[in-house]
Amino acid sequence: MAQMRYREALNAALREELGRDERVILMGEDIGVFGGAFKVTDGLLEEFGEKRIRDTPISENTIVGVGVGAAMTGLRPVVELMTINFALLAFDQIVNHAAHIHYMFGGQVRVPLVVRMPQGAGHQLGPTHSHCLEAMFLHVPGLLVAVPATAADAKGLLKSAIREENPVIFIEHESLYGVRGEVPEGEDELVPFGLARVAREGSDVTIVGVSRMALTAERAAETLASEHGVQAEVIDPRTLRPLDLDTILESVRKTNHCVIVEEGWPHGGVGANLAALVSEQAFDDLDAPVQRVAGADVPMPYSKPLEDIAYPHEPQIVHAALAALGTRADAAGAQGATR
């Protein structure tokens, strides 16, 4: 095990995969000379050269499309987009092309492309740089979606993503880049897609946390235990496609209560999707309706006090868990839920 930051773990994953497979190339805005807007690609240009670490013009849709074409003809491109909001400029290439080419051409060709991007609020970047849009990508058949919350998962999932045969939307979190964690060493230490991480075991309520919210949920679980005597089981799905629904269902069958926490918007969100799946497939095991905790249904505001209340924190998760358990009479639901 090595102690490293989330960004260093990503950097290590890229370095190792560049080293083991010559088909891997990196493309993105300011990933080379600048070292990456969030320094994830720092030092890679010096080590691997301009042929493989390619600074691009600011042309998101085209960069992703170049990745699609290169992937169709044998390369394994990793494209970095500076934030998830910028990925919306590339939605045509991501959805109409990367996601659909394998299917619409009858399986003749694969698109082993990784598109990396950070998401998330907390740095006062306002409504065009702060959103959490994993639900938009989750919606699309043909895409795989990874949402690592820890340094170990950042490294292990990115290595798996690069070795994947399908296009992967790899969603990092801006506020996690500097967070340290234990990371297994070794070139073949992968974290497989479609395998959830049980971050904390518990018997009273299941809390599913997506992306950064897995960590927030863990802290909420500590509070639930220390202040309310509630043992929460915290599950981090790690990939939303493929989805390890079985681990979530097994947990719900044990705890009979379920809370889903995400940072994105509530309408049509990840929580809405998971709540539907849990309700459909484990309804008889639920003692109470599934609770959702989500970001506020607003564009992300700049002003700090507003930004702070526009995405979930521990108290909302604690409140939702207690509401699910019927501990509080005022089970009014969670912060940011639909009005």
């Binding site: 691009t56 042309s59 169709m72 044998g74 629904l245």
Partner: protein, 393 residues
């Protein structure tokens, strides 16, 4: 006028142009009889542009096209049987019945697809060229799109990137005078389309897209230049589509007189008469070429009719390349039956169609291992329905 290449080549060009014409006419008939669904975009009138440009390529070069792509599949050698079966939505279609008219594909012939999004194929072409370059091959990619696509963001973005990175792409704008029903002068401030790449560092050329000899001569020069200099060029092929944008087009945006004027320049009779005048073929051979094309299309229709529709059980095939070791669900189905089907699919061995794609990665791996040119291997593989209709360049 460009000089006449050797007789076998020009005969083959006439044959292929005729095949495309007869195929498109029959496709239109089949559409009217509801054998073909969706949209149907015919390239009648544009055959010289298609054949003249594609015949400037080697088998190892790539061609990537638009939603008007039946002719591009045929010129690359995809059997008409498989193209027609695709229109019919059958399993033997060149995209397995998943794509339809707008999404033809034939990896084995390096026909890298028809794309339904206007301008969507330009970045992909640049990516293919990047891959060719990365492997140190001298492969060239011919990227075909319409005059309407020259207004998309991907046009500016991709031409800039291709010039900046020195990517071997021939961008060919098929100027058929209309972006759907909007005339060129009404959709583009610059109507001299060959100049649209100048500010992006991409030099322009122009050919008479109604003349297969001129188209071939200009494209041969463009392809040779791109192959040699590893820099993109933009070629404008000036042509005209005789039929509507699609089958559902009342053509209120142009006059019958204008269409009649262009039809006088019909590239197929013009080229046939030239070949007769030069003594390459005689009238009897011209008729034989036409009869062969009709017979070939008859066989294609017969084949497509006989080919089965895809089985309902195949609905979920090829959404993903499934990894049997993955525990999670690729599709979160809402019924147990669907969930079980997804699980069964995940447990099944990898399907054989995917093996076809291994050609290019293997070639890449070999080229990287050998540190040498891996690009001159012929990609002319055999496909589902027999021999190719058109010869190689």
């Amino acid at each position: 006028m460009a000089s006449l290449p050797e007789p076998d080549r020009t005969r083959e060009w006439l044959s292929t142009m005729t095949l495309i014409r007869r195929f498109e006419e029959r496709a239109g008939e089949m559409y009217a009889r509801a054998k073909v669904g969706g949209f149907l975009h015919l390239s009648i009138g544009e055959e010289a542009t298609i054949v003249g440009s594609a015949r400037a390529l080697r088998d190892s070069d790539y061609l990537i096209s638009t939603y008007r792509s039946h002719g591009h599949a045929l010129v690359r050698g995809t059997p008409p049987e498989n193209v027609m079966a695709e229109l019919f939505g059958r399993v033997d279609g060149c995209s397995g019945g998943r794509g339809g008219s707008m999404h033809m594909f034939d990896l084995s012939r390096r026909f890298m697809g028809g794309y339904g999004i206007v301008g969507g194929n330009l970045p992909i072409a640049a990516g293919i060229a990047l891959s060719s370059d990365y492997r140190d091959t001298d492969e060239v990619t011919l990227c075909v799109f319409g005059d309407g696509a020259s207004n998309q963001g991907t046009f500016g973005e991709t031409l800039n990137l291709a010039a900046l990175w020195k990517l071997p792409v021939v961008f060919m704008v098929t100027n058929n005078q209309f972006g759907m029903g909007t005339a060129l002068r009404r959709h583009s401030a610059v109507t001299d389309l060959q100049r649209k790449g100048e500010s992006l560092g991409v030099p322009g050329m122009r050919c008479d897209g109604m003349d297969v000899l001129d188209t071939h001569a200009v494209l041969a020069e463009a392809v040779a230049r791109v192959r040699e200099e590893r820099c993109p060029v933009l070629v404008e092929a000036v042509t005209y589509r005789f039929r509507g944008h699609s089958m559902a087009d009342p053509e209120q945006y142009r006059t019958k007189e204008e269409v009649a004027l262009w039809r006088e320049r019909d590239p197929i009779p013009a080229f046939a008469e030239l070949l007769i005048g030069e003594g390459v073929i005689d009238e009897a051979e011209r008729e034989r070429i036409d009869a062969e094309a009709i017979a070939r299309v008859d066989a294609a229709v017969e084949f497509a009719e006989a080919s089965p529709f895809p089985a309902p059980e195949s609905l979920y095939d090829d959404v993903y390349v499934l990894d049997p070791n993955v525990r999670g669900r690729y599709s979160a189905q809402t019924s147990e039956e669907q969930a079980n089907r997804a699980r069964t699919a995940a447990a099944a061995p990898e399907d054989s169609a995917q093996a076809a794609n291994d050609e290019i990665p293997q070639q890449l791996t070999q080229a990287l291992a050998a540190g040498e040119d891996g690009g001159e291997t012929s990609a002319t593989g055999s496909s589902a329905a027999g021999s190719s209709a058109a010869g190689a360049s």
